[in-house]
């Protein structure tokens, strides 16, 4: 089956080295949505007749992007806003087109982003239904009313970056009682939100648990949070017409809703990312 | 102690020990270890000596038979109580390395609840008894030499003044000179304390020297013979025993018999202050005994060396062959050794005060004959 955890997809094994330039190595970060995306990329590229290897679960962006630069991998599913902030922590662009432009400008030599997908997996600042009622929270602007009272939880990097404490203070004037280093929309932050250890949590919008638990996503009237549409980040040498065309087809077909469903299949139903991806691309006639 | 003597006879009745792995360490042993005496167990390695010893204080339980101590089955007492009443000297000392020498010696008194002060005082006393300097008490065992450790082992066993002492090759680890010293001390101590001692060794000379009674074991845990040393040497039960006793068995026997009663003959002698002329007059054969002013033997003078010397010159200053004076308490063996070593072929006899009384020659051998009856 070649599950979430294998190193190589079975299809990639023979002759992948001999295939030379036309062979593509896809890397993914260590969370399931990124793996699903990696396998989706793989499926459509294979459908286009290319030789593809997937190296899933390589680690965080900090580990994976340098690997792309090194040539350890060739292609990576990325998110517009986060990628830009990784490249330039001071960036303030937030709408998709601006982001795409900024990315193209800031990417190091040899890397390029292809046109983004319709699907988006944005950061959302979330509170429980109970907190929302208790504190009267519905937008990020409401947070400033309770300065110094609430606890914020998110991945460690939220402490120092724009879509985190810095931006919330700058744009909305919100300040917190404490910051808790947890994970990126993972079990830690969700657990902490559920148990009340944190009041406001940084989650990802596609996370099935948000709906399941009835959590409230605070709206972002001042557009602090950048668009997080999914973009293929690729080494320029590998960005042939075939690749572009194939990925463009996928990007059109994949919507946020579809992506959320796929996430749920993996995270809640415990199906394997590769299986989920394969079934979806077959159903949408993308795997040739 | 008086009390101790009454209850300290050890008796084995058809005792056997078979270990779970099938080794028979002791096989149907029936024997008595007499009160107030030293019984020595000898035999080659693995013949069951240690096992026999350890059955007495129940470190090993026999698989058959009974052992009584002063008439009471050893199993009647709780093991720990029994052991506190029996001194045990372990092969190569077996001291507690983490305790000072004094604390080591005070082990049993402490267990008996004597109180720290009293136990320590007793330990200090024993340190002296076994001939160790008082400052050794504060040291740790590994700061002592092998021989000193052995002494501590003995002191520890004596601490609560138990009527019975079990000693397992207590002097096994030291060189022959120190060993002889430790043996002397044990003999001296025992003359005073008269404990019932069971002593294990595989050195037959040690056994002959120390034992009031010697039990010889053979591999497989059989006791072959148990008898006083003189009887053993004179009448070994079989070839195994005879072989074990060694080829100079006859001479060993001499070491057990004293000179008391062996006749001596008068001997011609001169004072060491005499003149050459006086010496010439006194000479009967080639060798003339010279006596020092206190009456003891000074040495043998070769009268041949007097030739050509002026009669008035002094004997003092002439070369003498050594002569040792033997008391009645010395053994026939040392007399024989003297006879053989002295150029005159006789042993010089002295009285209790060390004054020359005469000489004994061939009579040493005759005395032996008499003792053989």
């Amino acid at each position: 089956s070649g599950g979430a955890t294998t190193l190589d997809t079975p299809a990639s094994a023979p002759g992948s080295a001999a295939a030379g330039d036309s062979a593509i190595v896809i890397g993914t970060a260590n969370f399931s949505e990124n793996q699903i995306l990696g396998y989706l990329y793989a499926d459509v590229l294979k459908g286009a007749g290319l030789t593809v290897t997937v190296k899933p679960n390589l680690g965080s962006r900090e580990i994976v992007v340098p690997a792309l630069q090194n040539g350890d991998i060739d292609l990576l599913p990325e998110y517009q806003g986060s990628l830009l902030l990784y490249l330039d922590p001071k960036a303030t662009e937030s709408d998709s087109d601006a982001l795409q432009k900024a990315l193209t400008a800031k990417l190091p030599q040899g890397l390029a982003v292809l046109p983004p997908s319709a699907a988006e997996d944005a950061d959302v600042f979330t509170v429980t239904k109970e907190s929302a009622a208790k504190y009267g929270l519905s937008t990020l602007a409401d947070l400033a009313k309770h300065n110094g009272k609430l606890v914020f939880g998110g991945p460690a990097e939220d402490k120092t970056r724009q879509i985190g404490l810095v931006g919330l203070k700058e744009v909305y004037g919100a300040e917190f009682k404490a910051f808790k280093s947890l994970d990126a929309s993972g079990p830690l932050v969700k657990g902490a939100l559920k148990s009340g250890d944190v009041d406001v949590a940084n989650l990802f919008s596609t996370d099935a648990d948000i709906v399941k638990n009835g959590w409230v996503m605070l709206t972002d009237p001042k557009h602090l949070i950048p668009a997080q549409r999914i973009v293929p980040l690729i080494r320029t040498g590998k960005a042939t017409e075939t690749v572009k065309t194939a990925l463009a087809k996928l990007n059109t077909a994949l919507t946020t809703e579809e992506l959320s469903k796929l996430d749920a299949l993996v995270d809640v139903e415990h199906q394997d990312p590769d299986t989920v991806a394969a079934e979806w691309s077959k159903a949408h006639g993308l795997s040739g | 102690m008086q009390n101790g003597k009454v209850v300290s006879m050890i008796r084995f009745d058809s005792v056997s020990k078979r270990f779970p792995n099938g080794t028979t360490a002791v096989d149907d042993l029936s024997v008595e270890f007499s009160e107030g005496g030293i019984t020595v167990l000898v035999g080659s390695s693995g013949c069951g000596k240690t096992t026999t010893l350890r059955m007495i204080n129940r470190l090993v339980d026999p698989t058959a038979g009974t052992i009584t101590l002063g008439g009471r089955d050893v199993r009647d007492l709780p093991a720990a109580r029994l052991r506190r009443g029996i001194g045990y000297v372990i092969q190569q000392a077996g001291l507690f390395p983490h305790r000072t020498v004094l604390d080591n010696i005070a082990t049993v008194p402490t267990l008996l609840g004597w109180g720290r002060r009293k136990a320590r005082a007793r330990a200090a006393e024993l340190l002296e008894v076994v001939g160790l300097p008082a400052d050794a008490g504060k040291r740790y065992p590994n700061q002592l030499s092998g021989g000193q450790q052995q002494r501590v082992g003995v002191a520890r066993a004596l601490a609560a003044d138990p009527p019975v002492l079990l000693m397992d090759e207590p002097f096994g680890a030291v060189d022959p000179v120190v060993r002889a010293l430790l043996q002397d001390e044990l003999i001296r101590l025992q003359a005073e304390l008269r404990k019932t001692i069971v002593f294990v060794t595989h050195d037959i000379d040690e056994a002959v020297r120390l034992g009031d009674q010697i039990a010889i074991f053979r591999t497989g845990g059989h006791m072959v013979q148990c008898a006083p040393p003189a009887e053993l040497l004179a009448r070994p039960a079989d070839d195994f025993v005879a072989g074990f006793l060694g080829s100079e068995r006859g001479l060993k026997l001499l070491s057990l018999v004293t000179l008391a009663g062996v006749p001596y003959e008068p001997v011609g002698s001169v004072r060491s202050t005499a003149t050459v002329k006086e010496a010439r007059d006194a000479a009967a054969g080639r060798w003339l005994l010279v006596v020092s002013p206190d009456g003891g033997p000074a040495g043998w003078l070769d009268t041949g060396a007097l030739e050509g010397l002026p009669g008035t010159s002094a004997v003092a200053g002439l070369a003498l062959a050594p002569a040792r004076g033997l008391r009645d308490s010395d053994s026939l063996l040392s007399a024989l050794n003297e006879t053989v070593s002295s150029p005159a072929g006789v042993a010089v006899r002295v009285d209790a005060a060390g004054v020359v009384t005469g000489v004994t020659g061939q009579d040493v051998l005759h005395a032996r004959q008499r003792s053989l009856t």
Binding site: T6, L7, G59 | -
Partner: protein, 215 residues
């Protein structure tokens, strides 16, 4: 917490592949460690003052948290298996070095001397007498190092070479205990199998101990 047996049965291939991947990190690490430890140990054994330094250094390296070590190595060796192997090799040294030195120490002076007295040189004595006699202690070190390395490989999942450790991250993120349990059990099995194998190797290599029934 329940185990989804269904998941297990559909993922045996993956578990097998992960185990192989796990071993292809662990085995080179131990071998490399041994290759480095042997000469260092000989030096530490012969030159007293260096012993404290070498053993002390390996001890300090051992106290560096493994994750940090991998991260520190990343800029040097990149996102490759080399990083994982290098880090683990450094950890094996603490055990291998100490045991090899102790093994050499355990060779009775008499035997070493006998070899010299027979007219064998220093190198000959090392190769033909000291190392063979130190083998039991060295092998004890190899066993400890192997087991330890096998359990440590999972930390390398942070850089994508964690072998069975991938199951832990996966289970963690999906709130899914089955892969985690499978991973723990699999790691234990691998470690125990490796240990048993090494015991067998040692048994085969030391006939004098095997046959020394009388001793």
């Amino acid at each position: 917490m329940t185990i989804e047996w269904q998941w297990l049965s559909t993922h045996t291939d993956d578990l097998w592949a992960l185990s192989l991947d796990h071993l292809s990190t662990a085995i080179p690490a131990v071998l490399l460690g041994l290759l480095i430890a042997l000469p260092l140990a000989v030096v530490a054994h012969r030159i007293r003052p260096l012993r404290g330094v070498l053993l002390g250094l390996s001890n300090i390296m051992f106290t560096v948290p493994s994750l940090a070590l991998f991260v520190i190595l990343l800029p040097i060796t990149g996102l490759t298996r080399t990083t994982a192997i290098t880090g683990l090799t450094i950890y094996t040294l603490v055990v291998l070095l100490r045991n090899t030195v102790e093994g050499l120490d355990s060779v009775p002076a008499k035997v070493r001397e006998a070899s010299l007295a027979m007219g064998r040189g220093r190198v000959g004595t090392l190769l033909k007498v000291e190392l063979p006699l130190a083998l039991p202690v060295i092998m004890a070190g190899v066993r400890v190092a192997s087991v330890m390395t096998i359990s440590l490989v999972s930390v390398a999942s942070y850089i994508g070479y964690g072998g069975i450790g991938q199951l832990f991250t996966d289970g963690f993120q999906r709130n899914f205990p089955t892969p985690v349990i499978a991973g723990v059990v699999l790691t234990l099995l691998l470690a125990l199998a490796a240990d048993a194998l090494l015991v067998l190797v040692q048994w085969l290599c030391t006939p004098w101990i095997r046959k020394g029934a009388r001793a």
